[in-house]
């Protein structure tokens, strides 16, 4: 059974993002995926890269030790799905810290003289399911940093066969119908994933 690693980063279960996350998990299970549902808030993930971790960052023999369980979960996955809000044109800190601490040299990429080689070959599909307070125009004006991290940096370290970026913008003005439409879109995308 193919395995999906779902990384979820929202503090409030009643949020639209949490609802979208639930749709992702349920739909994938319904389509025969084994889902490893990683709720960073529920697991109280510590996103702060420590001084020791910084010093050992490039030493691939020991750099995974503080986060070995998360590394193992990433390495066991065939698909990697991010569910998260966009805050201040970036990832929530708890999710950014997952990149800082877990997506390490030797895990997510090999780094030599600033050149990066992909090394998460187990993952074949990636998706981001995300909610913006900003309107599409405002996100565009800011250069949409989180979209770039996903579509270029994450894509580049995985080189997946399939990538989907499923975004709901302008959350401050969303209607109940808009919420429903977004969840329906997430479901449709995950059924076809």
């Amino acid at each position: 059974m193919p395995r999906a690693f779902v990384l979820f980063a929202h503090p409030v279960p009643e949020s639209l993002n949490a609802a979208a996350h639930q749709v992702v998990v349920d739909t994938l299970k319904g389509k025969g995926w084994e889902v490893d549902d990683c709720d960073l808030y529920a697991e109280e993930f510590n996103p702060v890269l420590s001084r020791k971790e910084r010093e050992d960052y490039h030493d691939t023999a020991i750099n995974t030790a503080p986060v070995q369980a998360y590394v193992d979960r990433l390495r066991a996955a065939d698909a990697f799905i991010l569910c998260h809000p966009i805050w201040n044109f970036g990832y929530p800190a708890i999710l950014k810290g997952f990149f800082d601490r877990v997506m390490l040299p030797g895990v997510a990429f090999d780094l030599q003289d600033g050149k990066i080689a992909a090394c998460m070959n187990n993952i074949r599909k990636i998706a981001a399911v995300t909610t913006y307070g900003a309107t599409p125009m405002r996100a565009f004006l800011a250069g949409d940093p989180p979209k770039r991290i996903f579509k270029r940096a994450v894509w580049g370290t995985i080189r997946p066969e399939k990538m989907r970026y499923i975004a709901q913008y302008d959350m401050n003005n969303i209607t109940p119908e808009g919420c429903k439409a977004f969840l329906a879109r997430v479901q449709k995308e995950m059924e076809a994933f």
Partner: protein, 210 residues
């Protein structure tokens, strides 16, 4: 001039610490008042909590958990960030500072009526400096789109006064950087801070139009 310096690096003695010291030295030369927040040293907690999210728009109560930080944001007219770029972006610690401190009624005004946009709330800030270091090359950073730079220069930049004076300096390929290049970068940082503060502007005719 009142400058808030937000500094984020886990290791004292890092090159970022040298950048910080250069920035502080140039600010002192310009006679600026400075407040420094060293996020790692303060043990800043970067995770926006469930309570903070549910009370996000409950102003001014939403400021209580980070009142000291908010006071300094309100106090300053110049904002400077110093940090290493990790995964093309801000360290989680610094990203969490944005998440938790740049709140509604502090940094922006939430829409009051339907279809209204978010409005900027930091119009008292007229200068911004961003100083960072990147493991990746300049080429790769630009190819990815320099997300960390954009989050600050544009994302936060959109909240500041119109025509805010902005400076940016990054050192690339940090992991193989040699002493002369690092020294040259510190000199560049010093020049950029002077440009930001207008210090020595009498020697620089192009700066007098500001």
């Amino acid at each position: 001039m009142r400058v808030l310096v937000v500094y984020c690096h886990p290791r004292e003695g890092s090159f970022n610490a040298a950048v910080r010291d250069t920035v502080l030295e140039r600010l002192k030369a310009a006679g600026a008042e400075v407040r420094l927040h060293d996020l790692y040293r303060e043990g800043f907690q970067p995770v926006l909590t469930t309570e903070e999210w549910t009370g996000y728009e409950d102003c001014p109560k939403n400021q209580e958990p980070v009142a000291d930080q908010v006071a300094d944001v309100a106090w300053c007219d110049t904002l400077i960030f110093i940090y290493p770029t990790w995964w093309y972006g801000l360290p989680a610690m610094l990203k969490g500072w944005l998440d938790r401190v740049l709140l509604p009624d502090v940094a922006f005004i939430m829409p009051k009526v339907e279809d209204e946009n978010i409005k900027p709330g930091l119009h008292h800030i007229t200068r911004m400096g961003v100083f960072t270091t990147c493991g990746a090359s300049r080429w790769l950073t630009f190819f990815i789109g320099a997300p960390g730079k954009r989050t600050l220069m544009r994302g936060v930049g959109l909240l500041l006064a119109p025509r805010t004076r902005k400076v940016f300096a990054a050192h690339y390929l940090m992991d193989s950087a040699k002493e002369p290049a690092l020294k040259a970068h510190l000199a560049k940082v010093a020049t950029k801070v002077d440009k930001l503060t207008g210090y020595r502007s009498s020697l620089e005719p192009q700066a007098q139009t500001q």
